[in-house]
C-alpha cells in the first residue's frame, strides 16, 4: 500500500551498492602496471622460461624450485631449451630483476597479491639504499 517509497528506497540502495565499481573508479585512470626490466634483464633478452609462461605461472615455478632446493638439495634447473640455471630466487631471479619495487610489486599490488617470498628473502634493492 504505502510501502512503495520504502521498496523504492531499498531498490535504489541495492543498485547504488551494485554499481560500486563504477562510481568508485569514476574519473580515475587505471593504467595497467608496467614492470621495469633492468638493463641486465634486457640484455639477457629472455627469462628461464618463455615470457607468457612466466607471466601466468611463475609462482608455480618458484614453488617447484623451493621444493627441489629445500627438500632435495637439487639446484640445477634445465629449461626446455636445454639451458642450465641455478634454482635460486636471490641469485638467479633477483640477479636480473634486481628491483622488487619496480618489478615484482608493480603487478602484485595491481592484482592485490600478497606474496610471502619476502618473509624469508631479503629485498636487496632496499638494503642497499
Amino acid at each position: 500500500m504505502n510501502d512503495k517509497k520504502y521498496i523504492l528506497g531499498g531498490l535504489l540502495i541495492f543498485i547504488v551498492l551494485f554499481a560500486f565499481p563504477f562510481w568508485f573508479n569514476l574519473g580515475k585512470a587505471a593504467p595497467a602496471p608496467n614492470p621495469v626490466l633492468s638493463e641486465k634483464a634486457k640484455a639477457a633478452g629472455k627469462c628461464v622460461m618463455p615470457t607468457e609462461f612466466m607471466r601466468a605461472e611463475h609462482m608455480k615455478l618458484l614453488g617447484m624450485w623451493r621444493r627441489s632446493v629445500v627438500r632435495h638439495a637439487k639446484r640445477e634447473f634445465i629449461n626446455p631449451e636445454g639451458k642450465q640455471y641455478t634454482m635460486s630466487l636471490q641469485n638467479t631471479c633477483l640477479n636480473c630483476h634486481d628491483n622488487k619495487a619496480k618489478f615484482c610489486d608493480k603487478c602484485h599490488d595491481y592484482a592485490s597479491v600478497d606474496v610471502y617470498c619476502w618473509d624469508c628473502h631479503i629485498d636487496k634493492s632496499k638494503g642497499e639504499e
Partner: protein
C-alpha cells in the same frame, strides 16, 4: 535419467561451448565487452521491473505465517520474534530470516519409525544453504579486486581472511595451492554440489525439482569450476585480466593479448547468470525482503485492518430494518429487539 536435469546440464555445456568457440575464433570483444554490458543492463532493468511490480501489488491484509504465541493476555507469554506484534519484532524476524535463513532451519523430514510416523529435524539444507550463500557473497566481494584501483582495504582484508589456510601440494604431476587457496571458492563448489545432489537423491525433492531449479545450480557450478581451474590449474595472466575488467568499469575498453579462452567462458557464465537472474527463482534475493508472510506484524486481533480501497457500500442494518417493519413483525408475532414505546394513543381512545 531425468530430462529436467539433463536439459539443464546440456544447456550449460552448450553455453560453455559457445563461449569457448566464440573466443577461440576471435570474438573476444563480444564475450569480453558487449555481452557483459548487455547482461548488466538486463540485470538492473529486470530487477527494477520485478521489484516495482511487487511494490504495485496490493497487500491489504495481514498474512504473516507465525510460529508462536500471538500477543494476548498479559499473563500469557508472547513469542515476540516468531509472532511479532511490533515493527521492532518484525525487524528482528527479518534480520534472522535474511542473515540466518531461520525458516530453513525449521526443515523437517517425515519418517516411518517402528511403524509410527515421526518428524525429524533435517538440518543439512540449512547448513548447505548458509555455506552456499556466504561463500558466494565472499567470492563476489573478493572479486572486487579486479574492479577497483586502488583496491579498498576492506576488500584486501576479506581476501586475506579468505586465504587464511595455506595448503600447498607441490609434486610433479600435481600442483595446487600457489597462488594461495581461497576457502570461499571451494566451499561454494562443495555447497552447490551438495544442493544439486540433494535434488537428485532425495526423492520428494527430486519430484518437485524442475529444469529451472537445476539450471542455476549447474551454471554456478560452472562458474566455480572455471574459476578454480583458472586459479589453481591452467593459470592465467591475472594482470591482463584486470586490465580487461578495469576497462569495463572505467569505460576504457581493451582486450589485452594472452587471455585464455577459459576466462571468457567464466565471464560468459557470469553474464548469463546476471541476465537470467531477474526472470528466475534467483529473484528470491529481492523477494525475501518483500515476503508478506514474513515482513508484516501479526496484529490481526489488536488492530482492525480495513481494506483501504473499500468503496462505501450502502448497507441496510438490522436496526433500520426493524424500525421499518416493527409493527408488522409484532402483528405476525415475530420477536423484536426493541419493543415499541408504550402506546400513548390507546389511553386517549379510552378517554374519548
Amino acid at each position: 535419467m531425468n530430462k529436467n536435469y539433463l536439459v539443464s546440464l546440456l544447456a550449460v555445456i552448450g553455453l560453455f561451448v559457445i563461449a569457448w568457440v566464440g573466443s577461440a575464433i576471435g570474438l573476444k570483444w563480444l564475450f569480453g565487452i558487449v555481452i557483459p554490458y548487455a547482461a548488466l543492463v538486463v540485470f538492473v532493468a529486470g530487477v527494477w521491473r520485478k521489484v516495482m511490480g511487487w511494490a504495485r501489488s496490493p497487500v491489504p491484509f495481514r498474512i504473516p505465517t507465525t510460529c508462536g504465541q500471538q500477543k494476548t493476555m498479559p499473563w500469557i507469554k508472547q513469542a515476540a520474534i516468531e509472532n511479532p506484534s511490533t515493527k521492532g519484532g518484525v525487524f528482528v524476524r527479518m534480520l534472522l530470516e535474511i542473515l540466518a535463513f531461520r525458516s530453513l532451519f525449521r526443515n523437517t523430514r517425515m519418517k516411518m519409525r517402528e511403524g509410527k510416523l515421526s518428524y525429524n529435524l533435517e538440518i543439512f539444507l540449512w547448513v548447505g544453504a548458509l555455506a552456499f550463500h556466504y561463500a558466494f557473497l565472499t567470492t563476489l566481494v573478493r572479486h572486487l579486486r579486479f574492479f577497483t584501483e586502488p583496491i579498498p582495504s576492506w576488500v584486501s582484508l576479506i581476501e586475506k581472511v579468505d586465504s587464511f589456510f595455506r595448503v600447498e601440494i607441490m609434486y610433479d604431476p600435481i600442483h595446487f595451492g600457489l597462488p594461495g587457496i581461497y576457502v570461499s571458492g571451494l566451499v561454494l563448489l562443495a555447497a552447490v554440489t551438495y544442493l544439486f545432489l540433494r535434488r537428485l537423491f532425495v526423492r520428494p525433492v527430486r519430484y518437485i525439482s524442475l529444469a529451472s531449479d537445476y539450471f542455476p545450480l549447474f551454471l554456478i557450478m560452472g562458474i566455480a569450476l572455471t574459476g578454480i581451474f583458472m586459479r589453481y590449474f591452467t593459470k592465467v595472466d591475472i594482470t591482463s585480466i584486470k586490465e580487461l575488467t578495469m576497462g569495463l568499469v572505467t569505460f576504457h575498453w581493451s582486450i589485452p593479448e594472452g587471455i585464455g579462452n577459459l576466462f571468457f567462458v567464466h565471464l560468459f557464465f557470469v553474464s548469463v547468470l546476471l541476465a537470467y537472474f531477474p526472470f528466475s527463482k534467483l529473484m528470491h534475493m529481492g523477494g525475501v525482503f518483500l515476503s508478506p508472510t514474513r515482513n508484516l506484524t501479526a496484529n490481526t486481533r489488536e488492530v482492525r485492518h480495513v481494506n483501504p480501497w473499500n468503496y462505501p457500500v450502502k448497507v441496510h442494518t438490522y436496526e433500520a430494518y426493524e424500525d421499518e417493519f416493527r409493527e408488522k413483525m409484532i402483528e405476525a408475532g415475530l420477536p423484536v429487539e426493541k419493543m415499541p414505546e408504550p402506546k400513548p394513543e390507546e389511553p386517549k381512545e379510552e378517554k374519548e
